[in-house]
Symmetry: C2
Subunit: 416 residues, 2 copies
């Protein structure tokens, strides 16, 4: 394969301008976005994306999950397309870049090779995966999951939001339920550009994260049962304080994660105590422990130790505990060839880079099951994401999209 020349670069101003224009649709309340999946705003964003793609000479495909596929033809009618993309939907108080950079970065690479008259053997398809965020309809990465055979389409259609509306009905309502069978497309490769959503690249001053793995995830919901009792009239030895047992378990979560440093992480983001009244000792505590690691055996060890340590803590206090696994996915090892295409692109372009593990779930994690896949990360300010204050610089966006361009064009094979 011929490598593209190092002076092949995207147009950063055009990319940035498209990012800002898309951000006008479904604005948030604090400078970010509320363009949740299969809302009217999502429909409006999709229409804008389609207009841009068609203006760039692409044809748009749409499958039954609303996944959008903007295709630029290659020179070989038998060659499978190289796919790029991410998602245009946002969190309810989301940022302007999470997902959007990966879609519009893909569009920008099409525009750039159009400008330069570059032909590729393989077609290039820019994808917008429906409902990556999962905040309106759980779970996250719903439609890439159906595409990759992780979920059935019927199950996905039946997901309901907080108002009881179903995903399938809402997709139909906004007019973006296509006819194409989901997952029928075969891919030569898939590349996803995404902001890091973590603090590492910025802290180290590195331009590009070459994503080698996606962390596996385990969510264990822990329920500690004690006994509601009055904070004043219950002597200390007669208390069954579920909040205190929870505190002790949270300390163990930290200890367990640190025992698998540096790649494993653990914390509880969800914590509720009941009845949550100032003068009632909590009789119940419910919290979800999030463990992640790029190594499956480490996740399994952390889960097992959590259960053992938590049981020992509540036994010593005369309380009860139960566990429910409420979420999880196995670690992902991205395709070595695709990862190397990303790394060599960064190298060729002169961007600093380091290997990185994706801590969050991404569409690429599911697509990796059905196609050779890799991800490119660029820094974001302060690691902040899922927040309207999410921010990146134009230079960071440019570096990420340049690397995407090179990795994709090399994989799609420039026709001389």
């Amino acid at each position: 394969m011929t490598q593209p020349a190092a002076n092949l670069r995207i147009d950063a101003d055009r990319l940035w301008s498209s990012l800002m224009e898309m951000a006008q649709i479904g604005p948030g309340v604090a400078g970010g976005n509320n363009r949740q999946t299969v809302t009217d705003a999502d429909g409006e964003g999709r229409a804008l994306f389609q207009r841009w793609c068609e203006a760039a000479g692409c044809t748009m495909g749409l499958d039954q999950m609303g996944n959008m596929f903007a295709r630029r033809e290659g020179t070989d009618p038998d060659a499978l397309p190289v796919y790029v993309g991410s998602h245009l939907d946002t969190q309810p108080t989301g940022g302007k870049y999470d997902g959007v950079l990966g879609v519009l970065g893909g569009l920008e690479l099409i525009r750039t090779i159009n400008d330069l008259g570059i032909k590729t053997k393989h077609p290039i398809v820019v994808t917008n995966w429906t409902n990556e965020e999962g905040t309106r309809f759980a779970p996250a990465m719903l439609s890439s999951g159906v595409f990759a055979g992780v979920h059935t389409q019927d199950w996905a259609y039946a997901r309901v939001d907080a108002e009881g509306k179903s995903f399938g009905d809402e997709l139909q309502r906004i007019g973006w339920r296509g006819d194409e069978e989901v997952g029928a497309r075969k891919m030569h490769a898939f590349f996803e550009l995404h902001i890091e959503q973590g603090p590492i690249l910025e802290a180290e001053g590195v331009d590009i994260g070459v994503v080698t793995h996606g962390q596996g995830l385990s969510w264990t919901q822990v329920t500690v049962l004690g006994k509601d009792s009055h904070t004043g009239s219950t002597p200390m030895p007669m208390r069954k304080n579920a909040g205190l047992a929870m505190a002790r378990i949270l300390e163990k979560v930290e200890e367990i994660a640190l025992s698998h440093a540096p790649d494993a992480v653990g914390a509880a983001g969800h914590i509720d105590v009941y009845p949550n009244s100032r003068n009632v000792i909590p009789g119940k505590a419910v919290f979800t422990v999030d463990f992640r690691s790029p190594t499956l055996s480490v996740i399994e060890d952390m889960e097992a130790r959590l259960r053992k340590e938590a049981q020992a803590i509540v036994d010593a206090m005369g309380l009860e505990v139960s566990f429910e696994k409420v979420g999880g996915f196995d670690p992902v090892a991205f395709d070595e060839g695709c990862v190397e295409a990303v790394r060599s692109a960064a190298e060729r372009l002169g961007y600093s880079h380091r290997n990185i593990i994706s801590g969050a779930g991404h569409d690429a994690c599911w697509i990796n099951r059905v196609a050779p896949t890799a991800m490119i990360m660029c820094p974001c300010v302060d690691g902040l994401s899922h927040n309207e204050a999410e921010e990146i610089t134009k230079d960071w966006a440019k570096a990420g999209a340049d690397v995407l361009l090179h990795a994709v064009v090399e994989t799609a094979e420039i026709v001389e």
Copy 2:
């Protein structure tokens, strides 16, 4: 003073029947009561109490806070009355006995001495204090607090509920805002019978708690500020996990309270983390530490140590903490003479008894500031209160009301 004879007893069936009849008003959803203060149900309960009191020959007084005073005359026109009572209002999911036993136990003692033609030198007044619970209009013990000069009446009137209705307006609306100046009455003594709301008496098989002190209370609301960040993409050393800092502080709360065993207690009943999402490390934790002790210096020591230990914990983690004292009252030492009247009554009647410290706040704690006061406690099943499943036995109610009868009649001085 002549002590009443040991065979002077209340009518347990009549007391129980009145408790059950009152519980028909403002029923709960699970066998208890929702007769919150200055609701229509509260008005209905008050009317029933007034009818009963008038049938027992009492005259009803009503002050500007809605406090009700049912008076049985004494033989000496110059003698100050002996007051008894508690409150008829309940928690939204409250029990049938918390407060009610103290009011209807007072009524039963009037009925009993009426039956037997007993005359006392001092009048006896049975009181229903408005809004002891404080769940609809904070704080608790609102009207006994105004009576005792702890709060001003204007401030009390201006308290609003969750719907924005003011206490003063609602009291007027239900028709129980009287003309009498609050706190103008002078008392010879005040006795309050109440369920323990704790597990000690039942666990030890003791009939009567002779309440010597009310625990002092300190509520410190602690706010830990860390940084919201993704549970997956934030390396362990870069986290500022406010939930973990909270867990460490909760362990210290336990340690601090235990260092002042056996009478001091400490716990956090109120715990909130933000944004409380499974995949976001809590950037903020807000919780209220409840410390209690019958000794003021112990409370002060616990408060100071909490602040010091919490500061050290967050400093070590690179977080921030702030403290707000959101509630508190000083320990109460009840009147030695009144306490002795309770103890000797239990002794004379052959009921097992022990000294006990009230862990909860009660109207008696405020009235103790303006009159010689004591409390009598009886067991409740499993220490359960502020719960529709709150339960006592008829025997426990009888023992408590018998002791109330004797303590009050002795203090009011039987006229031979």
